[in-house]
Every structure is written in structure tokens, then in C-alpha cells.
């Protein structure tokens, strides 16, 4: 169990878990501000480069994006189901749900890497060899710099999420969780659904807004 000097300030297990979840909620608040600044800069740049952004949006693969959205939403669903099972103490069902979440997460990452591969192939990465020469090439380049910063950060958060998920699965496998004590499952669940919400904001910004224009 954790080194005693890092929990002896708590009076009851509920006290400790309540504090830990408060900590996770606060961490998510900082992430909201972190991504918020990106979305703000994205929107302001879009206002200045409507034409360039629209043209660039037309070169994103909306099909892959939509599949990914479905994958991620179902993965959060699976996680929530797992949490419900462990609250009844059913570790076996929890393990099944968490593994499903993991698989869907890995599928998401692979699909994303595939999409990036296509983007690089089509020279859509901003810089010297940028392929698009439409009405506002500068704007298109700025779109794709936000695209790669946004999806890059999201992938990093996904990998961190998958790492945490593996840690939770390992501890569940060792029977560390019961209906009374499953703090880690709940905390990682909060983080996972947050990463899902970030994608739900990224998806329209990349694939939908300005495309039909």
C-alpha cells in the first residue's frame, strides 16, 4: 500500500478518496484552461482566415474522424459500465469492460496515426512543402498547425489514458478493488471521459466547421 507517510494525514478512507477525486477534478479544470487557450486561438485565427480554414477543412478525412468519434464515445460507455459493475463488487465484469475500453482506445490511436500518415503523404503538414495553394494558403497552413497541435496533444493524452487504464486493469487483476474500495477506477474514469470530451470539441473544429461553405 502507499507509503504510510503519504496517507497518515487522512482520518478515514472516504476522507482520502474524496480528497483524491477533488484533486482529479481540479487537474481536469487546468486541462480545460489548457485546451481552452488552444480553441480560443483557433477560433480567432479562423475569424481572420475563414477562406483558408474552410479550404483546409475540406482536405480533412471526415470519415476517419467520425469513426474515431464513435470509437471514443463507446469506449467511455464501456468504462462507465465497468465502474457500475465494480460498485456491485463484480471484478470479472469490470475487467471485461476495461479491456473493451482499452481496445477501443488503441483502435482510436491507430486510426489517428493512419490519418496522420495520409496527411503527411498529401504534404498537408505546414512548412515548406505545404501542398495547398488555394485563395489563402497562409490561412490553410495555420489551420493545419492547429490541427497537428490539437490532435498531437490529444494523442498524448490518449496514450497517458491507456497507460493509466493498464495500471487499473493490472490492480483489478490482482483483486485490489472491491465495492467498498475502487478509488483508482473512479479517478481514471474521470480522466478518460475528459479526454473523450476534448475530442468531442476537436471533432467539429477540424472536420465540420466551414467544410460545406
Amino acid at each position: 500500500m502507499a507509503d504510510i507517510h503519504s496517507t497518515f494525514q487522512y482520518s478515514t478512507p472516504a476522507h482520502r478518496s474524496g480528497s483524491s477525486l477533488d484533486g482529479m477534478w481540479l487537474f481536469l479544470a487546468t486541462e480545460v484552461l489548457f485546451f481552452g487557450a488552444l480553441f480560443l486561438a483557433w477560433t480567432v485565427s479562423r475569424h481572420y482566415h475563414a477562406a483558408g480554414f474552410a479550404e483546409a477543412a475540406r482536405h480533412t478525412e471526415i470519415s476517419l474522424g467520425t469513426i474515431n468519434t464513435v470509437l471514443l464515445v463507446t469506449s467511455s460507455l464501456a468504462y462507465a459500465a465497468g465502474l457500475a459493475f465494480i460498485e456491485q463488487g463484480d471484478t470479472r465484469r469490470l475487467l471485461q469492460c476495461l479491456s473493451l475500453t482499452g481496445l477501443l482506445g488503441i483502435a482510436f490511436v491507430c486510426l489517428k496515426l493512419l490519418e496522420w500518415h495520409d496527411d503527411f503523404y498529401e504534404h498537408l503538414f505546414p512548412g515548406s512543402g505545404f501542398a495547398l495553394h488555394g485563395p489563402d494558403p497562409g490561412g490553410a497552413q495555420i489551420f493545419f498547425s492547429f490541427y497537428f497541435v490539437g490532435t498531437g496533444l490529444h494523442i498524448l493524452h490518449m496514450l497517458a489514458g491507456l497507460g493509466l487504464l493498464a495500471w487499473v486493469i493490472l490492480r483489478a487483476w490482482r483483486g485490489a478493488f472491491s465495492s467498498r474500495s475502487h478509488l483508482a477506477v473512479e479517478a481514471v474514469g474521470l480522466y478518460w471521459s475528459f479526454v473523450d470530451v476534448v475530442w468531442l470539441v476537436l471533432y467539429p473544429l477540424i472536420y465540420v466547421v466551414g467544410r460545406p461553405g
Binding site: 478515514t12 476522507h15 482566415h49
Partner: protein
């Protein structure tokens, strides 16, 4: 070190601020901000119509100038000296190589160069070139400094 006694579990205060406080605070704050912004617009209507930027200005064509001539010169001189004092291939296929300048000078001094022409008459200087100095455009106003 003798272990003395096991610590009794800690206790803590449970009375805390509730969500209601944060919600009321945020709403109150946003309302005050809106009022102050409105007040400013009321007091200075002229400021609302100032010429904000009309759309986005295209990039102005401007060459990226040297921002630090000294540093560029130092780097250039360093590279030149490094090349001058080092040995290395010039053209591997034809076996051409460059050697440190000091060594090269010493070698030439000893062996001389194979088909170097003897002390022939100096080549005539083309008269039309000599003595012409390009007349630079005069600067319009002397810059005081």
C-alpha cells in the same frame, strides 16, 4: 531509534463551502463585468466606431533581414577558419583532398608547383577599367547622430 507509539487516526473539519457559493459568485462576477462594459460604452460612444481592422491584411512582402550582423560574421569567420585548418575530401572520386593551409604552404615552399610559368612579362592592364568609381546616389538628408 525506538519506535514509540502508534499514532491515533487524524480528525478533520467537515464544514466546507458548497457549490452554491461558486455558482452565485461566478454569475455575480459576469453580471458586474457586463455592467461595467456597458457603462464604458455609454460614457464613450465615440470609441465604439473607431476604425477596427477591416478583415485580415495579407503578409507584407519583407525580406527577413540580418538581425545580428556581428554574430553572423563571427559564425562565418569561424566556419572559414575551421575549413582552412582542417583536412578532408574535396572530391573522393578524383582523389582531391584539402589539407591544413600551413602544411600546404610548407609543401609548396619545399617542392614548388610542377608547371608554374617562369618570370614572364606582366599581362597588360585594360585601360578602360582603371580609375572609374561608381557615383553612388547621394543621400537626401544628412542623418544626425
Amino acid at each position: 531509534m525506538a519506535e514509540l507509539e502508534r499514532l491515533p487516526p487524524a480528525q478533520h473539519e467537515t464544514r466546507d463551502v458548497t457549490w452554491r457559493f461558486f455558482v452565485i459568485g461566478t454569475v455575480g462576477m459576469l453580471v458586474t463585468l457586463a455592467l461595467l462594459a456597458g457603462l464604458s460604452a455609454l460614457l464613450y460612444p465615440a470609441s465604439l466606431t473607431d476604425r477596427t481592422l477591416l478583415g485580415r491584411l495579407p503578409p507584407s512582402p519583407s525580406p527577413a533581414l540580418q538581425s545580428s550582423p556581428r554574430a553572423d560574421m563571427d559564425r562565418f569567420r569561424r566556419e572559414e577558419m575551421q575549413r582552412l585548418d582542417s583536412a578532408g575530401w574535396v572530391d573522393r572520386a578524383h582523389g582531391l583532398v584539402h589539407i591544413p593551409i600551413a602544411e600546404a604552404m610548407r609543401k609548396v615552399a619545399q617542392e614548388g608547383i610542377a608547371d608554374w610559368p617562369g618570370p614572364a612579362a606582366p599581362s597588360p592592364v585594360d585601360p578602360s577599367q582603371a580609375g572609374q568609381i561608381q557615383e553612388g546616389a547621394p543621400r537626401t538628408a544628412p542623418s544626425p547622430q
